[in-house]
């Protein structure tokens, strides 16, 4: 049996850097998401004006409070994959997450903190797809979104988040 300690392994580091492509929020359950050039992230509470902003919850899941809904992320690459693999056009305003990013490995970030523009967030869990989104959109996206439905995060340090901002490891 090989002695693992004898192998000179390189240190594992997170070396990615991504970018914010779209920002969305909506004030109430069922209402369409509206695009914004910037969003105000408030530590421990959420996004100003969004349906999951703590203390003013009016979201579809607000009866089940969760820190990880303070800000939610989604990958541009998933939108491209849905088109490529399933011929489904899902638009950035349709996946109902707040931040659409490119070049960010969301599924690897659960439990980690990272920079989102000038804010710092901590990923609490992977988002799961829900039938609610099919009801709103009339598109069969539930199965294609399993395991790539985005990331739920709580906001550790707030700030203004703008389209074009960098997303990077701490």
């Amino acid at each position: 049996m090989m002695d693992a300690t004898a192998i000179d392994e390189p240190e594992v580091t997170m070396s990615w850097q991504g970018v914010v492509r779209f920002l969305h929020k909506t004030p109430r359950a069922f209402l369409p998401m509206r695009s914004f050039p910037s969003l105000e992230l408030v530590a421990g509470r959420g996004i100003e004006g969004d349906r999951y902003f703590a203390g003013q919850e009016t979201g579809f899941y607000s009866h089940k409070p969760e820190e990880g809904r303070q800000v939610t992320l989604f990958e541009m690459e998933t939108l491209e994959a849905l088109q490529r693999d399933h011929k489904i056009e899902l638009l950035p305003e349709e996946h109902r997450r707040n931040v659409t990013v490119e070049g960010v490995p969301l599924n690897h970030l659960v439990g980690r903190r990272f920079r989102l523009g000038e804010a710092i967030v901590e990923a609490t869990r992977l988002s799961t797809p829900c039938r609610h989104i099919e009801e709103i959109l009339g598109k069969s996206v539930f199965d294609p979104l399993i395991n790539r439905s985005g990331l739920n995060c709580k906001i550790i340090a707030g700030g203004t988040l703008r389209v074009g901002d960098a997303v990077r490891p701490i």
């Binding site: 109430r28 359950a29 209402l31 369409p32 899941y61 799961t128 009801e135 709103i136 539930f142």
Partner: protein, 316 residues
């Protein structure tokens, strides 16, 4: 725990008395946000008071996305919905509605022939406004009314252009539907909304037409998210001692909801496991992608579950 939000919250921004026992209600978001989208000729449920829910067609067009406009004729001997709206609903009041559903699959090239009786014109007003907004004139509306028709202001350009035929049945004969649609037997779409006799005449006239070329405006029930496909079975909740029958059109989750049982459903598709529930009698049908074979021996993901036998007992 706060209650789950299951409807769209709107505010009545305007109530207009149009005469002829008809009122027009404009519903908007409290912050003038866009409302959930809809197709031309769609309808939605309006939640009025203590379980009083009525379905009305939208009169406005999909591009007019910050308001829902409905027109309601008072039915004095009706079941109460129109009287409630006429007597109790005023501008400024909050009102909850469902997501809009349904709509007319308009023929993009051929002629769309709309036949309406009275207030049955509402889905066609939506469709005409949708077509006019796109510069399309491939439609004609034949509209019967007892006395002066209402809502004409919403399709004034169409009336001015001669694309609407009005029939005041207090002064002239009703149109012969078979003759009107007969002209379009080979192409185009024919759609009808009105009283039962009118719908029957229309159905007879287009009975041989392909389904996709005819549209009879009927309000359709909401699409069940996880509808059952098994025969009806008895559901008994042992902890709360509640009994019900699960039918295919309602399904297990819908039945639990109707019984007022607060099951923590999240994904609604059998993958998150939030609604796992212990069962003691079945056997259940498992459609989830969460439970192990061992867990399935006494647990069920109820959002996609069912019963293979005649009786399912859940520990709820």
């Amino acid at each position: 725990m706060a209650k789950a939000i299951k409807t769209v919250s709107t505010v009545v921004s305007k109530v207009e008395d149009l005469g002829n026992d008809t009122k027009r209600f404009t519903l908007v978001d409290q912050d003038d946000w866009e409302l959930p989208p809809f197709r031309a000729g769609a309808h939605m449920d309006v939640h009025l008071d203590q379980g009083l829910v009525r379905t009305y067609s939208l009169c406005n067009e999909p591009d007019d996305d910050r308001r829902y406009v409905i027109a309601v004729k008072r039915e004095r001997e009706g079941r109460g919905g129109s009287n409630f709206l006429h007597d109790r609903v005023e501008a400024g009041q909050p009102i909850s509605v469902s997501l809009p559903r349904g709509g007319i699959a308009l023929d993009q090239e051929g002629t769309n022939v709309f036949l309406a009786g009275g207030i049955g014109v509402t889905p066609f007003i939506s469709a005409i406004r949708h077509l006019e907004r796109r510069g399309r004139s491939n439609y004609v509306l034949h509209w019967t009314s007892r006395g002066r028709p209402v809502l004409t202001d919403m399709i004034a350009p169409a009336i001015g252009a001669g694309r609407v035929r009005l029939y005041d049945t207090t002064a002239q004969a009703k149109p012969v539907i078979a003759e009107i649609v007969g002209e379009f037997a080979r192409c185009g779409l024919a759609a009808c909304c009105g009283p039962a006799a009118m719908l029957k005449a229309f159905e007879d006239a287009v009975s041989a037409w392909p389904e996709k070329r005819k549209h009879i405006e009927m309000f359709t029930p909401p699409k069940a998210i996880a509808r059952s496909d098994v025969p009806p079975y008895e559901l008994y909740l042992s902890a709360s001692q509640k009994l019900a029958t699960v039918t295919p059109d309602v399904g297990l989750l819908g039945t639990l909801d109707a019984l007022g049982v607060d099951v923590p459903v999240s994904c609604g598709g059998g993958i998150c496991g939030a609604c796992r529930t212990r069962w003691t009698e079945g056997p259940p049908i498992h459609r989830d992608r969460v439970l192990s074979p061992a867990e399935r021996q006494n647990e069920l993901i109820v959002c996609v579950g069912d019963c293979a036998g005649q009786r399912l007992v859940l520990d709820l």
